[in-house]
């Protein structure tokens, strides 16, 4: 039981509509990004993990426990739903405070912890305004505040970045990384792929209710062998460089899109990057630009799901 989340053959149907289909995965240490197209089953997985849905088949555990109607487990998790409706009549401070007192916390301590949580997410100045008037970005922060105020072991965040402006996203991402740095686990779904790459390389790719890939982005990228790794090199002498690089057996093909550009495709990117400095300095070929356009989550997503 190493993973924070253990799922074995989990299926969930809403009538004929697919929720999850024999979903099997073990993940959750540190920050895990859950990515997949709309309707792939992300929200269904979250609802199973927080015990608001019951799996039709297979079993799923969070922190080693069965989440369905499991009251003590709720103390160890913080959930941030995707939709944006809050208790409009409560102010930000009251909203977090009331939910904290539902953890059994005395009023004074709850007020203190709520104020602290709101400070962490940067909502202090709007704390005393009713949430009815909050913008989408402020609602995201209020939801995050109520999720982490009781210092849970794991944060389950459904699209925490959607609707937040760039400054807001930076702030939310920093809050999440700090939480993980202090030993907490974070499971977050998102569509803003280039944002999540900033704080984690650990992803689970879900599609049609199945986990089709789980682990480090770059490791997964390397495994996609029918799309060998592309590396774009800006150099004055692309052809000579190609000859030099051809020595490596894992190099599959070369392309010369422009007179000063070489695109190399390799099956083993790590080996390629390890040997490249050696070759460039020995051949004294002038290389003034190096980029790997498809070593990203976006590319992984496109190749596996696109």
């Amino acid at each position: 039981m190493n993973g924070v989340v253990e799922a074995a053959g989990v299926s969930k149907w809403y009538g004929e509509v697919l929720g999850l289909n024999a979903f099997t995965a073990s993940f959750g240490k540190g920050i895990t990004g859950l990515v997949g197209p709309n309707g792939a089953g992300k929200s269904t997985l979250f609802k199973l993990l927080i015990g608001q849905l019951r799996s039709d088949q297979g079993n799923i555990t969070l922190l080693g426990e069965n989440p369905w109607n499991n009251v003590p487990l709720k103390r160890r998790l913080g959930y941030c739903p995707e939709q944006n409706q809050l208790y409009g009549w409560l102010t930000g401070q009251q909203f977090v405070e009331v939910l904290l007192r539902l953890d059994g916390m005395p009023a004074a301590k709850a007020r203190e912890e709520a104020t602290a949580a709101l400070k962490v997410v940067g909502l202090t100045d709007a704390a005393h305004r009713p949430t009815r008037g909050y913008s989408r970005g402020m609602r995201q922060r209020a939801k995050l505040a109520q999720a982490l105020a009781h210092h849970p072991e794991i944060l389950i965040l459904d699209e925490p970045l959607s609707g937040a402006d760039p400054a807001g996203r930076v702030h939310i991402l920093r809050t999440i990384s700090d939480f993980a740095r202090d030993g907490g686990h974070v499971l977050m779904s998102t569509h803003v792929l280039y944002e999540i790459e900033r704080i984690t390389n650990n992803i689970v790719l879900i599609h049609n209710g199945k986990a089709i890939a789980a682990g480090n982005i770059h490791a997964i990228r390397a495994l996609i062998d029918e799309h060998p790794h592309a590396v774009r090199i800006d150099t004055a002498k692309p052809r000579q460089l190609a000859q030099a690089l051809a020595r490596m057996d894992h190099v599959v093909s070369f392309e010369f899109p422009a007179s000063d550009t070489l695109v190399v495709r390799t099956r083993q990117p790590d080996a390629f990057y390890r040997e490249l400095p050696q070759i460039v300095s020995d051949t004294k070929l002038e290389v003034h630009g190096l980029e790997s356009p498809d070593d990203s989550l976006d590319a992984v997503f496109r190749y596996l799901v696109g």
Binding site: N38, S135, P166, Y273, Q278, V280, E286, L290, S292
Partner: protein
Amino acid sequence: MLVETAGLTKVFGEVRAVDDLTVKIPDGAIGLVGPNGAGKTTFLRLLLSLVRPTAGTAKVLGRDIEDGVLVRERIGYMPEHDCLIPDMTGVGLVSYMGRISGLGRDTAMSRSHDVLQFVGVEEERYRKVAEYSTGMKQKVKLAQAMVHDPELYIFDEPTTGLDPRGRTEMLDLVRTIAKSPGRNVILSSHLLPDVETICKYVVILDGGHQIAAGELSQLLAGATDRLRIDVRGDREGFARMLNEGGFDADAGPTGLHVARKPGLEAAVFETAKALGAEVRYMGKEIRSLEELFLELVARTEKRGA
């Protein structure tokens, strides 16, 4: 001139959502960006004359916003939030909206099928909107904005909530519209890479004021004299060796930043070979709209706070 405003102001209670805004926005694809609560949505509502300005005037496509009906005849608005009538079919809803914009019953029906085909809603158009996926709903929202072929499209966060594939499809559609002659687009979005790929001209709002505006290319002509390097391995050692080699290098959160000097590139690979480190990226310090945005917003926050 697409939009001209003079001292445009809108106050809700004590919140000055739009504060004495005087802008001149040219035709074409315009990006409208700004932090939450910067006044973007209020500004768009003023242009659509859905709300009366507290002070100041504005002209959209040469028409004064006082006469709301005339202005709205030539605008297609795609709201940010969910706004479709759940128990109507896709084609029914789009043709209905076309008729309310002044199309005849048959013209609206034929246009409805045209635009739904254009946005890629195939046979789902005959199902009720309540059963649509988020992506499909966004496409129908776009279709209802296109049905009466307006001159100005106002898109409020068109790609929010879409998965990467949906986002690419939506951006392709918006780009095609922006490119078609005589059609203007105001794209308001938090996802700045989207704005970068589509818009030529950008207006940045904050606190109801315009803090920057101009051609995207000029705004982003950042420092080309610095190089960014992604090193996997001993980063500090790498920076130290470069500095010893007479280069000015510092290790920042987003990788090494080194001032450009002749022979730098060769030195980089020499150092990598010496330390057995890997060079994963080497290229000019790309200034994205996001970096510019965060800089500007931080500067106004310092001034404002």
